[in-house]
């Protein structure tokens, strides 16, 4: 009886500790969301611990003085198209690696792993020169095309596809399924959950991408949200309050997606580290 009470108290203590720590860790994001509703009219508003009063002025300023919806559209288009292409190309490659023995398979797979170790930043100047000569600066294609082949996507999908039991494939063959049928009727239906988990992770990553889009997108109308936010904050075109409003708006979609899919998101993310 006494033991049980002590255990309960301990559990309660652990939870209180974690809750306080979570507040501390999430402080910058909570601050951003709270002060985005601050009142730009009150001077020194930022210097207070709490905004004096809540207002929508920051948001109004974002919509009135910036092409916010254009940036939102660019972010959405770039992130979703890039995700779709990476999944498609990655699935085909992963399928080849997982299902067929062929000469050069392990060498090619090591090559894919190597692409994940080599820092992309080291290749961005030649890539920039290439994209520039293809006239793809300030286009969605310029952001997307160089990174369609994703080592991460190939690796993750291959790990999953390897687990599909051979018995399923064999019995499908007995039933007269050809190669196309095996892919379509056996593998694809089983792949929906892992593909969805991977797609969400990729989408969030691309939504937040900073370095490469910074190089490729320098016209206001072509920018994605992270690039536009930093650029216009630095030039002082947006004040701090609207910046917080825009930053909150830029963060809300991915946080919503994450919260809606958090179980498969976290498990898919963790799988990259465990099964390797």
């Amino acid at each position: 009886m006494r033991h049980k009470t002590i255990r309960r108290l301990k559990l309660f203590g652990v939870r209180i500790f974690l809750a306080l720590l979570a507040c501390l860790v999430l402080y910058p994001l909570l601050w951003m969301a709270l002060f985005s509703f601050g009142n730009p009219g009150i001077s020194g508003g930022a210097a207070a611990l709490l905004p004096g009063s809540l207002a929508l002025g920051g948001y109004r300023a974002v919509f009135e003085t910036t092409p916010f919806f254009l940036w939102l559209r660019n972010s959405f288009a770039v992130a979703s198209i890039q995700t779709a292409l990476q999944v498609l190309v990655g699935y085909l490659a992963a399928y080849a690696f997982a299902r067929f023995p062929f000469p050069g398979r392990s060498a090619l797979f090591y090559f894919v792993l190597a692409t994940m170790v080599i820092p992309a930043q080291a290749l961005m100047i030649p890539m920039f020169v290439t994209i520039n000569s293809l006239k793809m600066i300030n286009t969605w294609a310029g952001v997307i095309v160089p990174f369609i082949a994703s080592g991460y996507a190939i690796f993750m999908l291959r790990q999953f596809l390897r687990e599909v039991p051979q018995a399923l494939v064999d019995s499908a063959k007995v039933d007269g399924c050809d190669e196309g049928g095996i892919l379509w009727h056996i593998y694809l239906p089983l792949s929906i959950p892992p593909v969805a988990a991977l797609a969400v992770i990729l989408f969030v990553n691309h939504w937040n991408e900073y370095y490469w889009p910074l190089l490729v997108l320098n016209e206001e109308a072509s920018m994605t949200l992270p690039i536009a936010l930093v650029r216009f904050k630095n030039e002082g075109i947006i004040e701090w309050m609207p910046t917080l409003a825009a930053a909150t708006l830029a963060t809300a979609p991915v946080v919503a997606i994450f919260l809606a899919t958090q179980k498969s998101f976290v498990e898919g993310f963790a799988a990259s580290g465990i099964k390797g």
Partner: protein, 292 residues
Amino acid sequence: MRRPSSLPYLFLFPALALYAAFFIAPLFFAGSLSFSQWNLISPKKEFVGLDNYAALFEDPVFWISLRNTVVYAVATVFPSMAGALVLAAVIERSGKRARAVFRTLFFLPVIASLAVTGLVWAMLLNPVGGHFNIILGMLGIRGPNWLNDPFWAMASLVMVGVWRGVSYNLILYIAGIQGIDSQYYEAARIDGAGATGQFFHITVPLLSHVSLFVLVVSVIQSFQVFATVNIMTKGGPNNATNVLVYQVYQEAFQFFDIGRSSAAAVVMLVLVLAVAIAQIRMIESSESSMAR
């Protein structure tokens, strides 16, 4: 058994063609650019041999940014790993439902973009009206001029790096802990081990393979730190937070010295590869010794 032998190559073709165009070609292109003098605009590139490397190695800024990169990596990676490991163990002890909630909450710093994160942290660290110094002031401490002081600017970047790194590593460690057979913990409890003893005698050693993976990934990532540097400090003050990637960026897109930028990029590439290979060797040798 007959297999249509061209089929796997057909499936691999799109990925391999894209890798050839946007990975292998740029790799060689980067190498050749590092031996040329070019300003990105002029139609002609001049071959200058090893001049760019010589100039780079004579440039004190290069050595400063190399040192800063290593300082940032060491100062970020180990606290992120230790913090995540301890936090993962505590979260595991908070009960089933609470665990899921905390796992989600503590992952949010990774979900917010580095651009947003960098902007927000810079505002919080602002000496005029930023919350950090207001709160320190309430405690009777006069806060530093964070991003304009050589020491505190680097400390600020490390702080943001650890903030994000703990979140990132935490998920990997929680998954690792859940993979540990609960019998180990029961046996330890019977032997009288408390929470701390269990942590050091079971959790830490049984997660060593996760730790090695996290170490490799974290080091590679910390060598590539760019967004927070560009947004929060721009490599300043006086190069105190200049790192290799930022130097590559500056040389190319602010000074238009593509040759020198490419030389710096090649140096960075060799360095990251060397560190990664050394770490992967370490993993392999530890795995084979465990198997023995």
